[in-house]
Subunit: 160 residues, 2 copies
């Protein structure tokens, strides 16, 4: 398994990973009906950089790095990670997060922030905490989860 | 003084208010060198609605309402407010905030969130607290202030 920067041509292989997660409407604050073109803008064109995790069977993970706020806030980045169903439970999200922190440092960022980690997404919250991210905010009833109703969202932050 | 919805033609009068605040780089996480066209997108095209406060001498205040997050987060709005230097200290920011809460309710939002209120902006923090907003998050060293160095930013939230 290697993690490398994505090229535009990779998006056809990235899209099924995003589509499954976005359509579910359970973890990302993205319109569940988002089009492939809009997803490409969200994941690649609007990002500072996009990466893929590639194994023998193809692309099984992807993440982006974005500048979280322009102007005086541009030293903090934001990332989003998605792992293919076939590759879950093998530590890939953590590996991508470690990789993203190295890349973010190389790009000059001094901190990383996740703006919207749902408290219903226990696994993610625990993983980010284990990797050194702190909960710095809690937005009550931030997300209308299709099966759990209103759930809160955490803002998580780590200095790089 | 009336507060009314802005029309595209109002932007020529809105722009000087935005320009003064954005160029200062002291309160908004916006590129201080933002162009007029990009500011129009930020303040009007990307907003759900934009308003102006208009007195005898013209437009002296403006605010926008945006959906803060798409998908499952679309019930929370975000607003930004700017008052002209000539109209400061007269309660106009508070009046616009009250107005925006009514408009937001009418648009179907159930909460309002400010994502990035600098702790160096004491007046704003105190005003939003007086109007019922709670600090639900604190992002350390979130903003590189041109004279104060790194300052923290609050996430502030109010149910509507």
């Amino acid at each position: 398994m290697i993690i490398r920067q994505a090229e535009l041509a990779d998006f056809d292989a990235i899209w099924p990973l995003l589509r499954e997660v976005f359509r579910s409407g359970t973890t990302y604050a993205v319109d569940p009906a988002i089009s492939k073109d809009d997803a490409r803008v969200y994941w690649m064109a609007a990002a500072r950089a996009t990466y893929v995790a590639e194994g023998a069977g193809g692309i099984v993970g992807t993440y982006y790095i974005k500048t979280n706020q322009p102007g005086g806030g541009a030293h903090i980045c934001n990332c989003g990670y998605i792992v293919a169903p076939s590759a879950r439970g093998q530590g890939l999200a953590g590996r991508m997060c470690d990789h993203s922190q190295q890349e973010a440092r190389a790009l000059g960022y001094t901190a990383m922030q996740f703006n919207f980690v749902l408290d219903s997404n226990d696994g993610a919250v625990r993983l980010w905490q284990r990797l050194g991210f702190a909960i710095v905010g809690t937005i009550p009833d931030a997300f209308d989860h299709p099966s759990k109703g209103m759930v809160s969202a955490y803002v998580m932050h780590k200095r790089l």
